[in-house]
Symmetry: C2
Subunit: 347 residues, 2 copies
């Protein structure tokens, strides 16, 4: 991939953006406790003092995929908005707790919630956001979704949430281990990342169609897209451009993350290189020199090339899933663009 080439951002992001924002804001409207100030801050709508800001919120990948899936199967995407918002809120709950668990002081170029309000209150902010994600689904009743489908949406979202937490459990349990194989890593990201993305598409589809095959097909598409997304994330976490990713140089190495390139190195590197990698990861703090040595080890085994080829494999598998499905033309091409964006993005 040519890094100078501008990555094409799919139109779908823009198409739904304002409706997603309106839905998210309506879920949080009229909630007065300072608890909600933390959420508004995290979501990029307010500063630390609660003053509104023109934020640079996240990509809204999950709700966009949810609405696109609904539209692709011939549904009215407007009806799926409460579920799309729920998925975004659920994702953001996990980010707030993630930042506490990883001791991360910065996200998207801003201080994290816990670094401003302390860990105890940030735990509350995350807990409340997860709860509001569930409450958000109740809006489906006003969009004419039958009660049975609403209940199924609850089930799918909560199962995905539970799987995400299982993934987070694994991720943290890997911190103290050096016997992590690529297969362990994949088991972790299937849970931590792919499940919620796959379910976002699945829920969007089932709110627009009764066709079990197409619902299952879009879920599998989402599964592969989710894996591709995380692998690309890992690449950016080590080799990404700080100005674009918002993460400092060598960030994932400094955080001693067992991301894909590291899992690959632990499995592949031999002798001195492997020992050196383990030694550095066992140090209290990894300094610039340590980052450089780890980068050298990864370079020697071509861990970056390996990771991108794996991302591309998941991308191809995602596209293959799409092929057999009966979908409307524009959303189909957008789903393809989304998959491509995921493996090519620079931030």
């Amino acid at each position: 991939m040519n890094r100078d080439q501008k990555v094409k951002v799919p139109l779908a992001f823009k198409r739904y953006r304002s409706a997603i924002n309106t839905e998210l804001r309506s879920v949080l409207a009229d909630r007065k406790s300072p608890l909600y100030e933390m959420m508004r801050y995290h979501l990029g709508w307010a500063d630390e003092q609660g003053n509104p800001v023109r934020g640079s919120p996240g990509k809204a990948l999950r709700p966009t995929l949810c609405l696109l899936a609904c539209e692709a199967v011939g549904g009215s995407w407007y009806k799926a908005l409460p579920a799309a918002a729920g998925m975004e809120l659920m994702h953001n709950f996990s980010l707030i707790h993630d930042d506490i668990q990883d001791d991360d002081r910065e996200r998207r170029h801003r201080p994290t919630v816990w670094s401003i309000w302390g860990k105890s209150q940030a735990i509350n902010a995350g807990d409340a956001l997860a709860t509001i994600a569930g409450l958000s689904l109740l809006g489906l009743a006003q969009r004419g979704i039958p009660a049975g489908r609403q209940l199924l949406t609850h089930k799918l979202m909560y199962e995905a949430c539970l799987t995400t937490i299982e993934g987070q459990y694994l991720d943290i349990s890997y911190e103290s281990r050096f016997d992590i194989l690529v297969s362990d890593y994949l088991e972790m990201i299937e849970r931590k990342t792919a499940a919620l993305i796959a379910r976002s598409l699945e829920v969007g589809a089932l709110l627009g169609s009764d066709d079990e095959d197409v619902i299952r097909g879009l879920s599998r598409f989402g599964w592969n897209l989710g894996l591709a997304f995380q692998v690309r994330d890992d690449i950016l976490g080590i080799w990404g451009d700080e100005r674009k990713t918002g993460k400092p140089w060598g960030s994932d190495i400094r955080h001693k993350k067992k991301s894909l390139p590291i899992a690959y190195a632990l499995e592949t590197a031999k002798g001195k290189a492997r020992r050196e990698l383990v030694d550095i990861y066992q140090e209290e703090v990894i300094d610039d020199e340590g980052v450089r040595v780890v980068l050298g080890i990864l370079e020697a085994i071509q861990a970056g090339v390996y990771a991108q080829s794996l991302a591309n494999e998941y991308y191809s598998a995602a596209l293959k899933q799409l092929r057999g499905l009966s979908l409307l033309p524009w959303p189909r091409s957008q789903l393809r663009d989304m998959a491509r964006f995921v493996v090519e993005r620079e931030s």
Copy 2:
């Protein structure tokens, strides 16, 4: 109240206990990740290594009230079990996170989850338990509860959960404040404790009846019972018998909790006594001598008498709510016994 007199434990606790346990275990059955070992440990079913133990689990107050409310309105309590289990799991989620936030190393005579598995994984255990509480409600479908009622149950449980978190936010925000009035304290416990208890009864009632008046009446009964419960808890947290409560002598004072007796003292005590109280609460650690001084200040203003009289007021208000309602005789007398137990209990 005569402390030597044995407190009467309502029969309702025993009546539903085994069905509640079976339901709770079925919700967690077949879940293999070590994440669930933490939950089973917290719930008193397993030791640290995951071996089954004959536990001394909590009172199961919320599910018992839920099932009793269902039976009282003429419903079949068996049908409400998934909701009763959900309420208990939701309550336990809040305890796991509470212990992290309060830095409490012990609960019910055992080390807390975080003190064994660390705070990061304990956050995950709490998150997962809250999610499972939601999934537990899906069992209502198999008990023949109509979809609309199921959705209403989701709504009520998640609203109660959100209110509980708002209460926890307030509780933590009071830690650094010395201008707390009794009214602030009451606002906090209405959210942190009363809401989930009230909703447990409300949900039980609506799963057994369509009569809006009786549903609302039992919710109000639960509201007052919940307030009485928390006030009594505060009394036990300061003057309780360690062998019965499982909390060391003067526990809430050592933890610098702004419980009712302290809020009353901050509002009522004058001059030197108030200054002394504030000084002690601002110390890094409150030692035995500090606890004795605080106890003396509380004694001088009869804070314990005040607190018990407030608990008794809520008890009376709860009974008054019951009077106008059309309920079956046995559950009605049990609801009365529950309210009495709550204000008289020693643990």
